[in-house]
Subunit: 276 residues, 2 copies
Amino acid sequence: MSDVLARWVDGVPTDVLPADDRGLQYGDGLFETLLIRGGKPRFLEAHLARLSLGCTRLAIPFAAQRELRSEIADACAQAPALAVLKIVVTRGSALRRGYVPDGRETPRRVVTLWEAVPLPESLRDGVSMVVASARLGDNPLLAGIKHLSRIENVMAAEQARAAGAFDALLTGADGRLISGAMTNLFVLRGGVLQTPPVDRAGVAGIMRGIVLRECASLDIAIAEHHLTPADLHSADEAFITNARIGVVPVRRVGEHLIHMNDVTQRIARHVEEIDA
Amino acid sequence: MSDVLARWVDGVPTDVLPADDRGLQYGDGLFETLLIRGGKPRFLEAHLARLSLGCTRLAIPFAAQRELRSEIADACAQAPALAVLKIVVTRGSALRRGYVPDGRETPRRVVTLWEAVPLPESLRDGVSMVVASARLGDNPLLAGIKHLSRIENVMAAEQARAAGAFDALLTGADGRLISGAMTNLFVLRGGVLQTPPVDRAGVAGIMRGIVLRECASLDIAIAEHHLTPADLHSADEAFITNARIGVVPVRRVGEHLIHMNDVTQRIARHVEEIDA
């Protein structure tokens, strides 16, 4: 990609990695995507905590936290005003064939820095969503973490693109909403902001966590709550979140229009102004 | 891995590939694992047909079939008596950040040759299986094909290893059996050999297809049929299949013992003797 500014694999500036990496072979690894603003990584500790949780869940013995932090600092030092940093941690090169890890692999990290452009102003006016046709499986072990096996997200995001939508909403085995393919979802209903639990599928987005935390100080009632696509019909407002876009209003899901009101704007502005 | 004999990335002998490959970044690609016996790839056309189907499903415009065949021939020419060949085809290097493909990526192929050792004789006496705790999601678009997003298989296979079992049986959203983490499952019940459909989740194994095809000539009734874990209690026989192990009897699932009888042995012997 022409806008890659720098890349390190295990701390070494390079654009290649071993082909036997289990991240490539099996999607056996994790990633984080951070926004860097004014040379500062936003919500770094939350990203590193999720990465650490993912390593625990997948039993990836990642021990290079100090080196990773140093690479992040190096990246930030050379980042333009707005940049995106992606961290990939894989189980490392396969020591044997087959799905079962050997247990003695050495985890590998890939850190990539991109220049980012400001989001188009039009996002503030709200985006369209579609409901993805596929359903995610129940897997408490994998739920919440950001592993590399993302073909379902790729196909759902492509479905959104083909429909002219910004993102696609994913449902779980029981038909309930989980999240967008690349975002988390919040819906204001009956005065309470609700977001689906991500304990059986989906990703516990960092921005999702920030919104859950910050609503207390904004005096906005908020709760994790099961939601179906039909529940969107009783939505007073809805928005999506991720680390890159922050808080973006949803004005349409499929054929259904959603009101644009001020709770979303308040939260968006508040989150935008957090100095982290 | 010490037993890698050769590896080509897009036809070039190398052990590295670009770190921006979408196979690594998102599990956005496909793979095939072939057994090479006496310098001959077993069931090559079936493997290439599944790869081709996968490319169609994922909209990966793979056009290097001729080059791939030539690399497979090169690998076979230098293969020892027993070898394994793995083919990975990814969407190629990312042209932009994010899940949505740009559409103009150039697919990448990685071909790896390993020496293989004969299977332990003990497999003929049957293996133990466990039922994996996680459930696969319903996704007809991804069902049947062998994509790279295999973290669920990795975790299920690890669960099997931890339990001292050979493989773990995966269930779908409705609780019905789909397959093993690295195998397909066949169960003999009431004189009919049954294997779960793989049209909503799971992989349509090449050896599964061979067994379905060959049972006709063996005069064994066979059908795709929904199966629950409880159905294993009425199993007269059960076996698992994959391209590497062929047909292997199952003698135990969790605490439940399964009879070992001669239908499995007949099929195993027959498949083993196919000169392909």
